[in-house]
Symmetry: D2
Subunit: 280 residues, 4 copies
């Protein structure tokens, strides 16, 4: 490990110093990086207010702390549903307020930082933008927590160096999020790399989340991978939940129903306790 | 998932039928695939009798059920230590007998099946031989359990189809073992694919183990990945342990000390209980 | 192939119709996609006016048509040289003018499109931004040719769909550029995928270039891969050339000297002729 | 490159010494590794004598030097056609004799070395057996040329080290063969890595072939990749040809017709000449 660490410059801000504890980031009163494992849940995309409200109500009831929902969607094809844009952000903020849940949404363009910051409590950088250095630099200048997803084929150095762009700009509130890497396996959407979670937690003081929904792309694998993520030491979990996955405008195959999500929460609770942690 | 399953012929012997439980394979009185999570531990290679005895004594004391040790080693270079051969097998069998532990060792050549079967309780097929079809066919004709490691870049179909070669030959005692796949990540030796464990358990009735030592190649990651493997639903764990890793003839960087292994056992116990299972 | 083609919607603008010839894109009087194979050469980053002028003079003398040079550099670490910015653009435009060579430079941020368009004849989207959909949408609104590099681990669908974002916006002048994909091979920086060149030329009417410098990261492999790219049917080649590679501020290991570049040009000429084409 | 070379021990037999020319291996009077580029052609599997004869007659007429055909086939599923075995070997030898072409076939089991050697002029080790070290050691003891295909995800070190097993045993007649590596690309069967060809030719004195048929798995890509392979410096090409690809028992999708093969030969001839070489 000592030799591995040499790949990164000693004075990088992301690196964990000797005996340095994990940085605890406060999100509207909810800490991440401490004793509790934070669970973020919600639909892939915000489709309309009723659906989001129903989802939020149910996931909060099962113990989710924060609400996710995409307003700007990075879609492979220009002809796929691109998200509701600012209308979606408004809905998200309103439901978050009502349910008293911090809200997370994706930022895709540096020009939208002010807009998205007005509505969201946490800004998420997607895998495809992990090395959008212009965006990272500008996120270093804001005062909101940023979830930085690992790139599709990013190495550990590249991921930590991307976080360093944000820290170097002055924003220390970065949460790393593992979401699987590209491999030759075709049964799963990506290959979830949980060793990266343990490794990054050893190297860095930043909290680390796991997104088992995008990592696997297969509903029945989400809960086992959520359990494994907590067992590996993850500080948080981000899960896609949709009341009617078969009608979802995106990522239906990997979305849990509210009932499935409730089971996931029951499953990860004893794992968290086994590690001396708890789920909110 | 239904659509995924179509990649495999319906009548394959490895596939799990509706409501079919996991096959429980008996290894000298120790079952794998049932309620208990089996732990196999020992050095990468058998180096001499005293070292193996010391290791066996200690890992048994911490709760390992079976003893592993390589007599024929698949080494990248022809000039690296190739293992003690039959002398190693004799040592392994003797210590297994003395400690009352079933023993596991690798089979590399179909010509050695009789020889290795005389000494070993479980024959292991390494990742590099997962598609050595001649070897697989001959292993279908013996009556000993076979651990079939996943190939370096094998897909799920290829892995299950390789197991099918053994089952089709008449030997139903196959234990699958995930040990990481090749990716572009260079910090870890391979990328442990725990979603493959959950997926294969869903598709197949065969028990599935995980080898976090070869998967990561990094000592400090072995225990977190053992925890995650148990949480993902693995039926067993295979761990490299060496009394003096810094002096090991192979794989020292990834071997736990007996003390580290004892901690691993304490760590995975509550995880197993959280899933309604136990460690022997 | 017919079955493969079904992965893409029939009416995508990037797809080649029956008997449709390759689109010829005019770059300041120099066509790409026609009989000639276009060679773009220059340093990775613009370091100063004298160096760029020396490089331009020499590569033009060997037959390069266009001049490349980065002013905004996408660097893994925030502490690495980030490029000269607008000063670099000014130098690039001036030398291009003087040498009568169209100039190519990278665009990293949608906010910089106007700025970069004032100086550059071709805007290049780097591998890390291939799925920066906000940037792609805005590039669909300009009237300049865009080189779209393939992402680090992008599939053929993703690459063509990224191009579709630009075409759908109204800008048909897209040149695809293969620059290697991430694999487990560590001797080369990436793995150049020349089958993707032949495949994409079959699927799409857009011209396709190859960047053997970034693909291999190894100087001695650049010329063999340039030969192979032309033989595979590439419409252009982009090569890094630096008068003093050992002193280059970035990518020195993969830069050819002007002399090495001159040899490359001699080497690819007969290959182009063997295919009934020519190098400018 | 100097630093890269350090990954391999200086005294490895496979390494090219200063100014050492490529080793020329004589196959029944046909040299490989010299001025000529050797073309090996034939069906994936030997199906019956008439088909093989027809194929051999036609490929020889187009300039193929050697005839390939599998008698023992490594198939993912145990229920797929496994080859004709010794009957296939007899047919192959007979047609080779009749047509005066050396014959190449795959060896899958160390127990079959004597058998296969009686019939074949070159023994081929497939990608799945590249690290079947028992097989490699025994091939070091015979006096026939061996084609060693690169493993599905093998690194350069692993490939050259596998060849070293054969050379260390005393058999210096090893021909390396690149056949694509596993990546996340799904349009092609594998990703042909032509930079590996240039790299291995720089590192080693052994001749290097390319198999564009298995590498791509797509008929229309075989000829462009054959051109690119010759341009990259390959010493030989191995191509699958079948008179009726749509009826082939294996690999029909990637097999050229005799007519397609004839065009391939016309295409690679001027490329070889451009490099100062020739096709037989």
């Amino acid at each position: 490990m000592k030799s591995l660490k040499k790949k990164l410059a000693d004075d990088m801000l992301v690196l964990r110093g000797v005996n340095q504890p994990t940085t605890v980031i406060d999100v509207k009163g909810c800490p991440i990086g401490g004793e509790s494992v934070m669970v973020v849940a919600g639909p892939c995309a915000i489709e309309n207010e009723d659906l989001l409200k129903e989802t939020a109500f149910k996931v909060r009831g099962s113990g989710a702390v924060a609400l996710r929902g995409g307003a700007f969607k990075p879609r492979t094809s220009p002809y796929s549903f691109q998200g509701l844009g600012e209308d979606g952000l408004r809905i998200l903020a309103r439901i978050g307020e009502e349910m008293n849940m911090p809200v997370v949404t994706e930022i895709m363009d540096s020009e939208d930082i002010d807009l998205v910051s007005r509505y969201a409590d946490i800004l998420q950088v997607g895998a495809r933008n992990m090395q959008n250095f212009s965006l990272l630099k500008k996120l270093g200048k804001i005062d909101k927590p940023v979830i930085l997803k690992r790139g599709l084929a990013a190495t550990i150095e590249e991921w930590l160096s991307a976080a360093e762009y944000i820290l170097a700009g002055g924003n220390g509130k970065v949460i790393l999020c593992e979401r699987g890497v590209r491999t030759s396996e075709t049964w799963t959407r990506n290959t979830l790399d949980l060793s990266a979670v343990a490794l990054v937690k050893e190297l860095s003081h930043l909290p680390v989340m796991v997104d088992p929904s995008h990592a696997t792309g297969v509903r029945s694998l989400v809960t086992p991978m959520a359990r494994a993520a907590v067992a590996a030491g993850a500080d948080g979990i981000m899960v896609e939940v949709h009341p009617h996955p078969e009608r979802a405008l995106s990522d239906g195959d990997q979305s849990l129903t509210p009932k499935g999500f409730s089971q996931l929460m029951k499953d990860i609770d004893p794992i968290a306790r086994a590690l001396g942690r708890r789920i909110y």
